[in-house]
Amino acid sequence: MALLEIEGLEVYYGSINALKGISFNVEQGEIIALIGANGAGKTTTLHTITGLIRAKQGTIRLAGKDITKSPAHKTVAMGMAHVPEGRRVFAQLSVYENLMLGAYTRKDKAEIAETLEHVYERFPRLKERRRQSAGTLSGGEQQMLAMGRALMSKPSIILMDEPSMGLSPLYVSEIFDIITEINKTGTTVLLVEQNAKKALSIANRAYVLETGKIVLSGNASELMNNEQVKKAYLGE
């Protein structure tokens, strides 16, 4: 049984058919990349999985449990965290307050403090700036905060929507290193990226989304050598 199973997902915005029946799965411990051009439906897919948007058709199962109709605030407690597109940190709140909101569904204070220490270890810059309001952080730091915030819920799977968007090349490499590290400590990752090259270089498998449909899938290394992928997404 896969950790996350998506079957025949169809999503509409009014009359716009954004997802036209997509199916894929994510196994425990994998990094799965979901790549595709602007407007392909990547963000829609993630939003539907976490429950910010309702699917018209199809099922979503997390660890075998049907979560198709679970609203977003319930999926977090089931072990799914989501790093949204554009980071969406709480700009008026401090770095520390943002991180603690990430642990909103958890009760045990001691365990939360422990996770906070881990997050601070992984992102020392967040520790330095813990009292600063999140809005004053740089784009890269905000991305780290968004990731740290997601880790605070101690997720079994983490959904990331274009974490490298708008970052300088140096930061991009750092972010991808961190994703690999997060995965090594046992967290499954579903990664949406425009930077297909980087995404495929760290992923186990990948799916290619085009206007609401999955048109290609396979091992990341295979896809990297696929002519179609090379032309459309790797700019070769």
Partner: protein, 315 residues
């Protein structure tokens, strides 16, 4: 000088009542992103609830206050659930019109059940001595009845009533409590998160509908307290009692920066003081005009209000 202090304390007391009402406006605006124009009428309902409770022979003042707060809290939550929640993703104008509709509905229900005849509200401090009396050239007397005062043949230069004192202290206690609640508790942090980004708040596991309900509950409870304080100081109760204070408190919220909690407090208090002072020294007829003039000037200088935050652009 003493008369100025007297106007100032009355203004402060009226202003703290406005602040309590403005808090309801500003919190609902900040978190639910809507202008709840029925908020003023919740005050009126709170007034009637307390009035009806107190007109029975067995109901003590504290119980009347609890009844009023309970009625308003439930009413606020129910209104949100029935009238506003179904419009969560509707255009703001539709929500605004619904709120105006709810306002008329509440007024008309009050007209039907309580009639338009003004009721005389019995002050919660009825029978209590004034908080402070000052005679010219003498130290102030606290909690002393006029009849018990050693200078009872003289006319006091300044009297601060128990109602005035209660309004100010109760409001201060509530504002401190609310500030602590918002900044120190998990539910308060959830409110701040929802105010900034509802979607992201949901991704943290925050139940947005629940948080909005809580916001309406708190705002309406504050309105009930404001109702009892206000009706004690200005004892005429009619189905329209809530509309003027409601509008003034809305102005106060805008004045302080709508969405900002300290802003609503400061805006409310300033508004009360401006109203009283302009009534006393300029003209009671044009005090509302002066109020709006000040508002316009403030908004020209600071379009987001005194404590208003800069509007954040989403990435």
């Amino acid at each position: 000088m003493l008369s100025f202090i007297s106007y100032l304390t009355s203004g402060l007391s009226l202003g703290s009542i406005y602040a309590l009402i403005a808090l309801g406006y500003t919190m609902v605006y900040g978190i639910a992103k809507m202008l709840n124009f029925a908020h003023g009428d919740i005050i009126m309902v709170g007034g009637y609830a307390a009035f009806i409770a107190m007109s029975t022979s067995w109901c003590p003042v504290w119980l009347a206050l609890i009844i009023s707060v309970t009625v308003c809290t439930v009413l606020g939550v129910v209104i949100e659930k029935v009238a506003y929640r179904p419009l969560r993703s509707a255009p703001p104008l539709a929500v605004l019109i619904t709120a105006i509709g709810v306002s008329y509905l509440l007024q008309n229900i009050a007209l039907l059940t309580q009639t338009a005849t003004p009721k005389t509200f019995k002050s919660v401090a009825a029978g209590a001595p004034p908080f402070m009396i000052v005679y010219e050239g003498e130290p102030p007397l606290f909690f002393t009845r006029l009849s018990d005062s050693p200078y009872k043949n003289l006319t006091p230069a300044l009297t601060v009533s128990m109602e005035t004192f209660l309004s100010i202290t109760v409001s201060i206690v509530i504002m401190v409590g609310l500030t602590l609640f918002i900044n120190k508790t998990k539910a308060g942090k959830a409110m701040l998160a929802c105010a900034e980004d509802r979607g992201a708040a949901q991704l943290m596991g925050i139940n947005v509908n629940g948080t909005i309900s809580l916001t309406f509950a708190i705002g309406s409870a504050l309105a009930a307290v404001a109702a009892v304080l206000m009706c004690s100081a200005y004892p005429q109760l009619t189905p329209y009692t809530g509309s003027m204070p409601g509008i003034r408190a809305f102005v106060a919220a805008v004045f302080g920066g709508i969405g900002s909690i300290p802003g609503a407090m400061i805006g409310g208090i300033l508004l009360g003081i401006i109203e009283l002072l302009s009534k006393a020294y300029i003209s009671s007829q044009i005090s509302d005009a002066i109020l709006f003039l000040v508002l316009i000037v403030v908004l020209i200088i600071r379009p987001t209000g005194i404590m208003g935050k800069k509007i954040n652009e989403k990435v």
